[in-house]
Amino acid sequence: MTNLCYVKRSLAYFWRTNLGVTVGAAIATAVLVGALVVGDSVRYSLRHMALQRLGDVSLAMQTNDRYFNADLADRVAAHPGATAGVATLDLTAVATVPGAERRAFQVHTIGVPHAFWQIGGEGTAAIELGDNDIVLNPRLAEQLDVATGGTVLLRIAKPSSISGDIPMSNEATNTFTVRATVKAIADADAFGNFSLRAEQIPPFNAFVSLSLLQRRADLAGRANTLLLPVSAAAADGALPVPEDASKDRDERLAEVSNAAVEATWTLPDIQAQLRELPKRGVIDLRSDRVFIDPALATGAAEAAPGGRVYVTYFVNELRADGGKATPYSMVSTVPADSDLADDQIVITDWLAKDLGVGAGDKVTLNYSVFGEARRLKKEDATFTVAKIVPDEAPGGDRDLMPNLPGLNDVDDLGQWKPPADLGIDTKKIRDTDEKYWDDHRGAPKAFVTLAWAKAHWRTPYGVVTSIRWPLADHNRDDIAAAIRKAVNPAQLGLFFRPVRDQALAASGSGTDFGGLFIGLSFFLMIAALLLTALLFAFGVEQRSAEIGTLLAVGFTPRRVRRLWLLEGGVLATIGSLIGLGLGVGYTKAVLWALRTLWTDAVAGTTDLRYHAESMTLIIGAVSGVLVAVGTMWWAMRKQARQSARALLSSRFGLETAHGKRGKRRWGMWIGVGCIAGAFALAAAMSGAHGEELAGSFFSAGSLLLIGGLCITGSLLRAAGAGTSSSHAATAPTIARLGWRNGGRRSGRSLATVSMLACAVFLIASINAFRQDPSGEALERQSGTGGFALYAESSLPVYHDLNTQAGLDQFGLYKDDVAGVSFVSMRLRAGDDASCLNLNKPQTPPLLGVDPAQLAERDAFAFSGTRGDNSGSKPWALLAANDAQPDQPVPAIVDGNAATYILHKSIGDTITYTDEAGKPFDVVIVGTLTDSILQGRLVISDTQFKRRYPSLSAYRVFLIDAPADKVAATSSTLERALADVGFDAMPATKRLAMFLQVQNTYLTIFGVLGGLGLVLGCVGLGLVVMRNVLERRSELALMRSLGFRGGTLRWLVLSEHWALLMLGLVCGVVAAGIAIWPALSAPGQHIAVTPIVVMLGLVIVSGVVWTVVATIAALRGNLVESLRAE
């Protein structure tokens, strides 16, 4: 005889009970395994999508609006260990189909060479693109409703070497159009969804020939993205960098490739030029971007000795005290070691004559500094003339004039068509000015100190316009080499990121759907475990005499428990193995539902594939066994405490409840107290709003539920003890007898009522948290911020739309937008950090906003702020470090996105890299409650421009509009700003998009919880059967006294239906309080139908199972039971 033999015998002999326990364990395991495998499947699908969108690409260099020479790819490839890359030109466009209404915004127009398709991964077919060809990805084709052979128009932002924010650039020329015929629709397998963003929703992709796009964008030979596939050397592990366990292959490949960039980059790659000017006797460094990047300027000035820094600036006017004025001139700087004071100026002969001034006279400069949105601020500065020098004297030549588009190339100043924003009055240009232009072009007419110029003419894009070295001391190649040595190209955007590593990390660490579905399937799992516990407990009760015998023959209680848990463990293991198989089916069912019914929960991701890791299955199965065994231990803990004598007694477990009067009274008083508390709380918080109101009423509902259950318990104990006055005073009826029977096993009855009540309450009341944005749409303290519209533009908008100049730019009249105002924001793109992105975003997009505009509107509700600013104007926190460039940049972010997507809280930081390749920290200082700004980090405009001066224009707009003109305003703006791809939507619609994810989770919780509740009703049926079997002889006695079979069935049913109804009533009343705010608020629409259906299912299921159990338990000859007794 062995323990195993004993267990085997028991398993076989009590197979009916054991089968039930096994089924319960199997269902629990299936739900657990299913939830975990859903997590695996989502992760696998995201990883699959990430690999599809990247093809073979391992590293990428993205320089955005900086355009390097495309042959950088070849130079890098020639470096040992590096690999041949593919340079592409990526520009943003608005796509339309001629003659059709449909359009697509934010279209990635990618100019690709033939080699692009070769890095698309296995099986990607190369597509030869002619000048008239375009390839679309399925999402864009679907959006435009266009097929192969169709025509597509792309309006593309024309790249400019000068920031669009600088009024010297001519915005009118900033777009161009490409018209092409769709050659193919490239799906995900054909590399059509190529993207460097960690998002599972593919972008709108349009592929055109690289050479075509370069020509049309005036960027011949240039690119802004360099893609590197894994090199053969890297794949073989033969990289020329030391093996380092802390770095993976792609990180080491990035090291090699960045070293290759450092070794091979040239000044043209950063749009800078080094010219020999023999006439001037200098080597001259300048930038196509007008201002030399600060990192380059600093490095270059120190790279070789003798370098002289110039700041040459366009001034509106030079004015003498006597009133004479010279318009539109260049003013430059004298060497830093000159003895000129900051309030002195050197002027040329020409200017001295023109103004009629000499040394010692005063000259006033009128110049413009850059303000917001191409606005200029005019300022004056007065100097004393220190010296008069010849025209174009050494160090004051015409070559100092920066390359200003539209001006440098004109032969005659009269031909110049200055941008309107520059405020140039060409009528002021005199013949003498034309003569100067003919003779000296843009040679400076005056010179101030470098220190003064740097202090007053600094722009977000730099201040230095030229650096010169004496030709006598240097040659150009030496200077170029010295600059390349002194300057790190990464600071100018020339560096590779391990995009593959980042994509895989993002796909693996996003929303944990495994954990999420464990939460959502919670009730189903609990119901299955309760079923397991119930059946196991019944089995233990059935065999209580056996336990008593074992104790009597010398087994310790601990040993008995171990023996039984061994038996339970075998059942749990068998159940768990069956559950594994069921779990796979459950996963597939859930994935099907996610692809079809619950698609909002996965942000419309329909490409979800089944995948299970073996470790997940093992963890699921083992957890299933442990949870089931734990449940069994819990179920038998009562029997384990009984004495052998009690267990050997045949009457064990049949005692009538003897609730003490004091305990019953306490229960009643606690119940009454809870109910009073619930109504008091509801009354006190009826004036609250939003989640506070929902939370208060949920708490009130919970209190009511606890109160109801306390009173139910008290009544049941009273019924069991037979002390209720109603019983004593009136003659017994079958229903009363049934109620009294319910009290005999008051613990079991209360557990049944509690389970039903809690489940009904939670599943129904969870709807209180279902959100409908229309309710508080116009309130400032809501998720819309009180804004009527949210808009984004595909192409930059450089003007402030609140100004007449801004409206003029798009042909709008004031009447068109009466009562409309805009909060315009700059955008630095990044991985979407909203709940619509299932990946973990690496660097979320940044929005730059003027905090004062949101503060004065008191827009959006804050869920938290750093420090004690919650009561004041939290938006002001954004500007806290505006004057301290070295401090972290304060940011405000949506609270849910921070918690669930970014896994960050207030005070946490995220590291970004600025335009100059310099890392900086963004610190979260505030969180918003469910807002339309979800997915982005909002920082101050000042900080934004400091970090990303090139991303100068506005791309995101929050729009206030009169309530009755929202739709009209939207269509007016979309029509007027069509060229920049202005896409407006009601703010409530955008909020609903985010809330829909949360609402879908609630739906899933309700559906799975409802299934759990139905399973719970099976448990109710088992309780009925157990109760009847325990009292079979008693019922037989009643039969022998003349009761008919139907009467006895009614006796049993009335007892258990009373429990069912008690559970439902407690749960429904409590849930009613919890969801009252949502039911009564205007504009709120609670989905009542699913609740009613769920309750109906519970009632039907409960009735069916109790009837089945009653009939099963009462069949056969009852009187035989009496004889046996």
């Binding site: 002999y13 056996e546 050997l648």
Partner: protein, 231 residues
Amino acid sequence: MSDNQTPLLKLEGVCFHYGDDPGDDGLVLNGVDLVVEAGESMAIVGPSGSGKSTLLNIIGTLDRPTAGHVWLEGQDLATLDDKQLAAIRNTRIGFIFQSHHLLPQCTVLENVLIPTLVRGTTPDDDTRARRLLERVGLSDRLDHRPGALSGGQRQRVAVVRALINQPALLLADEPTGSLDHAASVNLADLLVELNREEGVTLITVTHAVDLAERMARRFELRDARLATTNA
């Protein structure tokens, strides 16, 4: 094991009452004294509810007295913890209940060997079980389940189970209570013979006069006190 001076079992002033109130209502045993030598056989009789089974449970360590002391083989049972008491039940005491309490899922042989599971069943246990079952005339029923046996056969299996670990004390609680007359006589014969052959001390609680008279000493439990009836 008891030596020559130490009785196998000694009860001194044993009291027991149910519930919290030690008043007369719940008092079952009131100052019971008893000395039993090794190898003796004795019967305790008394009306229903007089406390016979309670006394047997206290002797068998299934209950603890509310007052007084019980010594088994010279060891004060009050000084032992539950684990030690379980060990004593397993090795020094054998129980026979009115209802046989055989495990329905196990065979006759397995039921007999159940007590040996505590320390691990040895081949000697198996040999002894078979010998004892042969002794009680059940050698052809080794692989039968209890459900396939008559009431008398089940009770004989229960007796063998009680003897498997060679206990010093055999406690029988109404062993013939659920048997017909013939089976009762057979079981009484068996108990008396085993008492003699195995040298095991036998205390039986019974209503059956026939069985009581087969015991060497007889006591009656009345009004919570134990009195000899041998005279």
